[in-house]
Symmetry: D3
Subunit: 335 residues, 6 copies
Amino acid sequence: MPLFDLPLEQLRDYTSSAVQPADLQPFWDRTIEEARQFSLDATFEPVDNYLAVIDTFDVTFSGFGGHRIKGWLHLPAHLQPGQRLPVVVEFIGYSGGRGLANQNTRWAQAGYAHFIMDSRGQGYGGVSGDTPDPHSSAGDVAYAGLMTRGIRHQDDYYFRRVYVDAFRAVEAAQSHPAVDPSKVVLTGISQGGGITVATAGLAAGRLDGVIAAMPDVPFLQDFPRAIDITPRGPYPEIASFLGRHRDRYEAMLAVLNYFDGVHLGRAATVPALFSAAQMDDICPPSTVFAGYNNYGLTGGTPEKDIEVYRFNNHEGGQEHHWIKQLQFLRKLLSS
Amino acid sequence: MPLFDLPLEQLRDYTSSAVQPADLQPFWDRTIEEARQFSLDATFEPVDNYLAVIDTFDVTFSGFGGHRIKGWLHLPAHLQPGQRLPVVVEFIGYSGGRGLANQNTRWAQAGYAHFIMDSRGQGYGGVSGDTPDPHSSAGDVAYAGLMTRGIRHQDDYYFRRVYVDAFRAVEAAQSHPAVDPSKVVLTGISQGGGITVATAGLAAGRLDGVIAAMPDVPFLQDFPRAIDITPRGPYPEIASFLGRHRDRYEAMLAVLNYFDGVHLGRAATVPALFSAAQMDDICPPSTVFAGYNNYGLTGGTPEKDIEVYRFNNHEGGQEHHWIKQLQFLRKLLSS
Amino acid sequence: MPLFDLPLEQLRDYTSSAVQPADLQPFWDRTIEEARQFSLDATFEPVDNYLAVIDTFDVTFSGFGGHRIKGWLHLPAHLQPGQRLPVVVEFIGYSGGRGLANQNTRWAQAGYAHFIMDSRGQGYGGVSGDTPDPHSSAGDVAYAGLMTRGIRHQDDYYFRRVYVDAFRAVEAAQSHPAVDPSKVVLTGISQGGGITVATAGLAAGRLDGVIAAMPDVPFLQDFPRAIDITPRGPYPEIASFLGRHRDRYEAMLAVLNYFDGVHLGRAATVPALFSAAQMDDICPPSTVFAGYNNYGLTGGTPEKDIEVYRFNNHEGGQEHHWIKQLQFLRKLLSS
Amino acid sequence: MPLFDLPLEQLRDYTSSAVQPADLQPFWDRTIEEARQFSLDATFEPVDNYLAVIDTFDVTFSGFGGHRIKGWLHLPAHLQPGQRLPVVVEFIGYSGGRGLANQNTRWAQAGYAHFIMDSRGQGYGGVSGDTPDPHSSAGDVAYAGLMTRGIRHQDDYYFRRVYVDAFRAVEAAQSHPAVDPSKVVLTGISQGGGITVATAGLAAGRLDGVIAAMPDVPFLQDFPRAIDITPRGPYPEIASFLGRHRDRYEAMLAVLNYFDGVHLGRAATVPALFSAAQMDDICPPSTVFAGYNNYGLTGGTPEKDIEVYRFNNHEGGQEHHWIKQLQFLRKLLSS
Amino acid sequence: MPLFDLPLEQLRDYTSSAVQPADLQPFWDRTIEEARQFSLDATFEPVDNYLAVIDTFDVTFSGFGGHRIKGWLHLPAHLQPGQRLPVVVEFIGYSGGRGLANQNTRWAQAGYAHFIMDSRGQGYGGVSGDTPDPHSSAGDVAYAGLMTRGIRHQDDYYFRRVYVDAFRAVEAAQSHPAVDPSKVVLTGISQGGGITVATAGLAAGRLDGVIAAMPDVPFLQDFPRAIDITPRGPYPEIASFLGRHRDRYEAMLAVLNYFDGVHLGRAATVPALFSAAQMDDICPPSTVFAGYNNYGLTGGTPEKDIEVYRFNNHEGGQEHHWIKQLQFLRKLLSS
Amino acid sequence: MPLFDLPLEQLRDYTSSAVQPADLQPFWDRTIEEARQFSLDATFEPVDNYLAVIDTFDVTFSGFGGHRIKGWLHLPAHLQPGQRLPVVVEFIGYSGGRGLANQNTRWAQAGYAHFIMDSRGQGYGGVSGDTPDPHSSAGDVAYAGLMTRGIRHQDDYYFRRVYVDAFRAVEAAQSHPAVDPSKVVLTGISQGGGITVATAGLAAGRLDGVIAAMPDVPFLQDFPRAIDITPRGPYPEIASFLGRHRDRYEAMLAVLNYFDGVHLGRAATVPALFSAAQMDDICPPSTVFAGYNNYGLTGGTPEKDIEVYRFNNHEGGQEHHWIKQLQFLRKLLSS
């Protein structure tokens, strides 16, 4: 895989041609408001995870439409009574779900509460999931996969429900007694990174306690460029659908604009650590930089940084980037 | 593509290891009965198809759950008052839909009424479609595509709804005044062929007027073998899902057995013309022969024949096979 | 497939670097004159096409060198005596032939006479054909396929014969009593589109009655760029041959210049409806725009338009573009 | 990926055609004896792993030839003085190394001491490594990768050194004060599984304390079949080398026979839990079953079991299989 | 590439299901007789080959239909007056031609006269060529490439002309004064090997002086099996054509039977050294063994041997096999 | 393969961004000096090559570290006593070795002494080899293949040893009594071309007798660009290693700079004939032009020329380019 996208110097300045909808804020105000009509009703059931040093809880809470969303909460074992930990809320990559109860505990190993949100209707791919997407639009004519599900209107688009689930997941995490609700960190890889950007933006002015965002090779950034140039992964679902439904390009872009991290992240107010991979042909670096360069612009320009992995495809920095994140959080929380 | 499946001599005798559920007939009796609770309410709106010699109607009728299903009815133009034509009911291949109003008129050109049923939730692929699948299970965790949608239980499995739609489509076609309801021919390619086999079987004893079935390289036959050996196309959706959900193999087979053409076609009572392609790695010839060899065995062993295309992949006989079908119908209707 | 060619803004202005031979017009004057030495001798034999609403005739006429070329003529059935219809003359895509007698009747369905010309020496690929290429140069050393057949000299190059066949096909179509010879429309997809452009140009001043050209994702445009950038389809036959015959690049370009739609279409005088697909890696959009932008420049700049399909590869607009063509002709013929 | 290897019924009985060298035991007796001439000199340096619940030590010990081999030892944090834990010794898959200090702690999370051995000369692929292979034969003419390194003679073959490293790794693990040396479990995936089988066999009669082996989709089993049928992964390195060095087939097989899990595992005396994946085209299921079916045959036929994953390629059972292993160990250690 | 064809034990016995035409001998008697009506008229023009130790002549002679066929004759430089050398006549692999004047001199280096025959109509691929195929059937509808050129009738099939060219090439080689006409060895790789087998068979009883045949991974053996199982190379041209021209399977086989090495080689009377590669997916080993096992059966069962390369694809034994051939000839000529 | 690199006009001016190390000359002075501490000890054993017109000697000499390096020397047979020939020293492409004794004699056929150097540790790929790389760093952690072997430090990097071997190979060739030591020509394809460039540069001021360099599509030029843009072949070994070892980019570049033909060739003083292929995606044309454009700039700007093959991938000009080289040498040696 050669370097195929813009050179690094141009990436540093690239900001996307996506157009923010005039009613972006009211749309999301209304959306969040509707979601909060439903009782959150977060429950935490202990499970046997076979682990000696981590306690795990099977989480259920009400997301978009009051639909019941699953998750895991991992805590270091043997917490002291009343002890409250900063929490890392993690969102999952495309096609995956929350996985098994002991599959991913890494933030809890590092001493954080670790909350993992299942992705509705996903979990058929890399990691299994348990949460259906019972919305009435789920059976719409759509290209195989989730990217064009409900794409006829922003009210029905699949990621509206997912972003709301994520917003509510933060509230669910905050509701647990071992969690310090004033110290929520958002993170995720690929789709999880895209949800991180969106949630950081949606939280601004609507939800207290989020203190940082760590989107890793984030997906869902700069749709207009992404669907033009991306050869592999989920973005081509949209291009393929448009290859068949040739008359819907502008209408689709209009819908996607409500969900583009380029717009949603602009409002974010918290420090962020991004990553991008220069040979990433699933989430091309220009789309990631579009999200990064816009992040926080209207949210007070919080500190932000981006790690660039020159010779990596979508795997990005992997274990090396986790070290960067651990250092970032260690510093953030000690300051 | 070399010949990779059983040699032709063995195909002639191969009958599948799929096990028919004990309650197959009651399950479908109940299913059809429930569907008939809903008024069929078939409507036929004339459309401008730009064609001089074919008249086209936009069809809507109530399928499974009373959901409104789309279709086209093409008729030769300038029919005489009261003239009633034999009707060819055509089902569509996987991922496709009914297409545009003038896209496929071939049976009407040949002098038949030509009824095309849209496939719910499809139409994102080769040919566009317009019918959603509004069932509450449509958003279940499922591998991208339709093959594992609702596969947790036979009541929810996607093809239960499609097969019922097809059954009702026959009734809808019969309801049009230019159609001779005693002369219904079923046909389709690939998934359309699988629906043809199933509908022929379901019609037996439940629906009068079906007189022939012409399944072309039919899909949805012999699931146990198909998911083991098929490298390409929709069958691997199931294998891929099982690669992730490792504990669900037997349970899935149990569900799929309610929808396997090997079982459903056994009850068929009408003459049939199948086709198979020996280099077909989407619907391998052994799965097609499994369906063919079982066809009609408990339905009075109607006449049946199968055209074998030795050097073709899933395209099968194409225009050449259409000639065979035209000859088959000409002979059938003149006898 | 990402957008890999020039951006749309640049496509709008791109005109090719191909150099028109000084003797282009005399070369073609001589060529056509020689062809007309042979009696056209167009014959039309009725065939059983199994269709109730279309009549089909097996056509034979004399093309280049007097070689007998096959074709089909489809007419709406039951024409009134003396009725004369506008005719759509269709040329076929690379590797295909005229197909079976009832395989493609769409313009006749729409009320036109529909004349399909077989492509000599082709018909081994997507659609079968019946016309050999008996020219003595047919067995020259050439890369597999037709693109380098006879490429040592413009007099022997394969497409010289094909373009002449196409010119004579128009005359053959005009000779049928049910055809209105003053209303000939040229069309075709890919290679058929390239032949359409060439024939429209060759007709200018040499043949009356052509009234429109509808080249769909045309091939055979802008050879110098096409052989440099095209990764797939027939153009690479030329590049592959040059990879072996390294010393023949300039000589080959000199020959190809006599057949480049960029030059031949420039003389066209009739309105045109082109199409291009922005993700087409068989006939890249820049080569199509080169043909489009030059079309008619010296022929009085007739009206022309081009439909651009952004998310399509070489399939282009398919059934959607046919609607555009039907509308274009309906308007043209009603004006 | 269809099922391409033997059907499951035949896998259950398949035992390989590989021929055990007459001097297999003396060869390994001498090999181990030589290795033990070098002082083990295992050192354990604590490292900052950023984790709150796991303590990690950077391990170094003397493997084959006294070469210094790296590893990690992970322990649950806050052990009580004198507490000794059963240890899981893990070997790594082909191309990988021990990774970063906090990359894989899963057995420590489960309450075990977790010892990870680096693979000499590997660590360029999936997971990074830090141990060179300083043997004088390392620069021999060999196909890219490690499979044919030193393959001219069994004394020089690369895996001789690796197997000895593994044997010594067990001794190194046993030497740590928090480890119960009488409770050593061997495990690993793919190459790690192959080393597990070999080490279990080599330990028999030579090393006390090993109580179980858990090889997961093991590599290095049944070389004669593996190099004939495997299309992907490291086995084809051998076939590719033989494609060039055509005269060395029998000589290579003779060397490989000293390292084939089919022979080495036969002597094992401890219970084992294997896994195989039926669509595995890197370590085909027949090769895995060859290893499994021979395991322990001359070692007193210890209890053994194998999990079969029907729809998985080389990923095998992944997180699901870990659960099986956790259950297997929980039961073993509680009995 | 795994071993995909029959195991070696079965290859040793495999003999093909191809059916020899009743009139095979008369067909070829007539064919050769007709060719000999044309004067051979072999000319040898010296060329500057830039080589100090090899002299090269540009050869032209009359092949099938009197068409002028090109070739090279290489001789060791500085022959003594009247010296006559055994000659190796080499035929070329599919798509290639005789190449440049100094491109392949290896048999002359070894002290033989080395005669290379150009393949009419080829030379567009691996090695360039200079001989057209001016037969009137060369422009027939045929799949791209040569395999289906003229395949409607045995009189027109392309390889009839090539085999005759080869027969005449032997006569041309024999006509040079530095060649010993009683010592002709035939050889070639792939297609060249197929021509070798055919020429050895055709020479029996018709042409004196041929003393050995060395077909290397020969093509053109056992067509019925070859077109069923071969995934790559020229055989699939036939299967692809049949995929389109579905009704011509038996007719094509009937034609191909006149050219199958399985039949033609049966009459051969001279010793032979074959080679086969067990991972060859262009000329699968079973087809090569079919040719080998039939070779000479009706020609007095001359000595024959076959080298088998287990881990090679179509490259076969390459430089290693040349050594075998040099040894074979050294022994043959010294005996 | 489309033209994917810079257009030809830009290639003519492109000079690379690689930075020459300040101590490049001292590094190589020291390196050569150390190598010359070892006695060259070149031996030439006659072998039976089965050839009548070429004599071949099995060569062994001391390369880097005194390691014994293999080679072949081919001479035209029957030289007169005392006759001394210009010698062509040939280096081999990546993965290959010196091959068999009669495999490549082409320069000897042309009347030159032909010296072929084996590449240490290679010979597993296209052509077999016999020389190990016994350096202690050969077993370092490195990506499969040779490109990252010893890359931690310029003293250990694999190509340091190879370049020294090449330098000593020239001296070995010069030591043979049939060689004119004042007429040494360097050549090679791909890696062989890269070694040619390096050796030409290293010879300047250190070794007399080299009179020309003929690097053909040379590898090992302009590492910074090569590892960024090359999709295929050996360069991606470096990118792949960096994809895993993310922190070593700058350090690696620093090492590679000691071996980049862009720097080493700058000092060359002898005429050169390069070649480049514009569709070469293994050694992209821009990297080749970087080497060419820098060649000789500080060595007195000797005459140089480059053949460009527009439609070729890495095969370049092959037999056609050999003619160019033969002409170049004929002219050079006659002047």
